[in-house]
Symmetry: C2
Subunit: 428 residues, 2 copies
């Protein structure tokens, strides 16, 4: 069955994924010279950089999600369909989704990335991923459920396991989450659970490499390590995880009891069946400098799912929001250039810097040669994230929560709206 | 297994349910002369009067829920346990929960009410109840999912069914929900779904009796009917529902195609096994004028689940928040009086009036002899609800959403965070 999209005399651009790359592309295309169809499995855009705050009860989920239909209200010849793409039929220029099929003139794969467990099935079974709003909510529920359970047991080692958190991966997500959990431990949870001894709760951050925030400057990396340790996070460098059975995290040198392991140690592209194997490398689509997937004529990949090797970036660009947004914007311009027979602009990554927040008054920011940390870094971090959030309502609610949390040392939304049910206990 | 609550030399009051009645009781008891144990299946208090705004994407769920642990932080000898009560063992003064057992000196059942389908299994299977945050979120998801589906079908009668809403019950919940859905139809949804013809969408309100808002004044009842009709709600009075198969709503005189039926036509008390049958009438616990369940010595019921027949209220008090709060407060005082051997105060209901909002600038308020409607009524309604919301953060976020919605004719949180899965398709 063909999806119910009106015919048009314009060329149809089908975009899979309403993340940072996809929405930036549509913003560039929105002047009616193409028919635009956006497909996403959710009806909203997710502001992923703040997912960890949803997971730690600092922000409500609705503040970091924005309805995609509303975002593009009034764009002419724009269609949104909530669907899961099943495969791409390259020969016939068609995508197959769970709700129907759709022909395209140009296809843009902007599906982002998903958690990479590097083949470790045990870890995959027991770890909490954190790439979507509903995964972040699961994490919030699980954390609170574990403390409720800790109250019920008199077995000290079981209680310790329930109160401990192990985070794997010393990138921005891991560092920010470790910091946020440590603030919960220091300021919030002891009030909620006065009968528990919070000296027993430990937040462990495990990193396989020799430093945290490895892609940032040496200075920021060191400062963030110092911050984490000041806040009581136990950081284990050069410590890859070997196995996890849902109770004990195993590394070469130690065993850490923890009922919760959050995996933030790697991603790979969210691939869709139908693109030739030789266009895939390291779980990403190989593209030329115009984001065209190699071996195709009209199928593009942007953002995390794309691997564009250039002289400056022989292993591809960083899998971060700015790459996706910049590629979306350039591709938008290039589609017009193709249409009018002009020469396309090759993509060039502009490094806008990077940043991470560890806790209140503690953040690290690299911007070109500039490095901020401490309170100034934290202010810059908050300002940049607030301005990047989509929608005025979301900005105001988020700001309000931050001010509230800052003044009260609080995290207001400690709610188990939907209890988390472990994978092996579902559907029984 | 006994629940892990420390022994105390004080008498233990166990309260089942952290609704309006339960929290008011605890507020009265909080001066350390009793050990207090609160049991609730959720870790938060729900502000039920605004559930319909969560269901219609006007408020985020986290604004109308408040963590119970946080609410009673600092109360000495207070314990909260998240649990489902399985039964009451009256002889041994013990409650059995899904996480363990607990002895009590006094037990207060404050479990509220649940949806009453009056034995109609078909309706129960297919209708959407709206008594909890997660049911309201299901309703929000279902509504948005239905519009996404309506885009996919070329079958006009199927599309009509997906776009129609039937609400059963002309009480405050039904009226408020009908009004909110009609505002979505008039102002919000046509922007989201420009390809759908919203003249096809109909909001039906079915009431078995001869008027809407029957317990309110004649004037308010008539005004609200007028408002509903002005806003395009199709109100059917004297029209009980006979059957519903998930597609067509059947009444004596007509059949309405609708994939969504919201049941707001009745409640009964949320009873717990273990209380003698002769203390139960119309699904509520019969109590004396001190809220003591008849035939027991130390088991009380307050709020929706209690049925106290008095001269002025021969059929019991209205099942509304003020009754529960007033009974909680009086019972709190009486427990002290029992302790100190003083005479108890019999409960006397103070009617604070009632109100309902139908839409922007349209509400009806009865306060003693005073009746407001229109803009003044709406302002009173908003003020009262805002002030009653628990927590400063919740008040501010709610106010912000209302201002936003008012200025922009918008409902900001049109998000399907967790898709709704119909009951008959779950666990497959």
């Amino acid at each position: 069955m063909l999806l119910n999209i009106p015919d048009s005399n314009k060329k149809r651009v089908v975009i899979i994924g309403g993340g940072f790359g996809g929405i930036q592309l549509i913003r560039k295309l929105r002047n009616a010279r193409f028919q635009i169809v956006l497909i996403d499995k959710n009806n909203y855009h997710t502001f992923q950089p703040l997912l960890y705050q949803v997971a730690t009860a600092g922000l409500e989920p609705d503040s970091i999600a924005y309805p995609l239909r509303k975002m593009f209200f009034g764009v002419s010849d724009f269609y949104f369909r909530m669907a899961q793409v099943v495969r791409i039929e390259q020969q016939s220029n068609r995508v197959v989704t769970d709700i129907g099929e759709l022909d395209f003139d140009y296809l843009v794969v902007a599906t982002g990335s998903k958690t990479n467990f590097f083949g470790n099935k045990n870890i995959e079974r027991h770890a909490m991923p954190m790439k979507s709003v509903s995964e972040a909510l699961d994490m919030r529920s699980l954390m609170l459920q574990n403390f409720e359970k800790a109250l019920l047991t008199k077995n000290l080692s079981e209680r310790t396991g329930l109160m401990n958190f192990v985070i794997v991966g010393g990138g921005p997500t891991g560092v920010e989450l470790a910091g946020a959990l440590s603030e919960l431990k220091n300021h919030v949870l002891p009030k909620d659970y006065p009968d528990l001894d919070f000296r027993r709760m430990e937040v462990h951050l495990l990193e396989a490499g020799p430093k945290v925030l490895a892609p940032m400057s040496e200075k920021s990396s060191k400062t963030s390590l110092k911050y984490l340790e000041e806040m009581g996070v136990r950081v284990w460098l050069n410590t890859p995880v070997i196995d996890y059975d849902g109770k004990v995290v195993k590394t070469k040198t130690k065993e850490l009891p923890a009922k919760t392991l959050i995996w933030a140690a790697g991603v790979h592209g969210r691939l869709i069946p139908g693109i030739a194997e030789n266009a895939i490398e390291k779980g990403r689509y190989l593209t030329d400098e115009f984001n065209l997937i190699v071996g195709t004529e009209n199928i593009y990949a942007i953002g995390d799912v794309a691997l564009m090797k250039t002289e400056n970036f022989p292993h591809g660009h960083p899998q971060v929001a700015p790459t996706a947004m910049q590629q979306g914007a350039v591709l938008g311009k290039n589609l017009y250039k193709i249409k009018s027979g002009k020469e396309q602009i090759p993509f060039q990554y502009k490094d806008k810097g990077s940043m991470a927040t560890i806790g209140r008054n503690r953040a690290v920011v690299d911007m070109n040669k500039l490095h901020f940390s401490g309170l100034p870094g934290w202010m810059v971090w908050m300002l940049v994230h607030l301005l990047s959030l989509v929608g005025f309502r979301n900005k105001v609610v988020t700001l309000l929560n931050w001010v509230w949390n800052y003044i009260n040392y609080d995290r207001g939304v400690r709610l188990i709206i939907r209890p988390f049910i472990p994978k092996n206990q579902r559907n029984t």
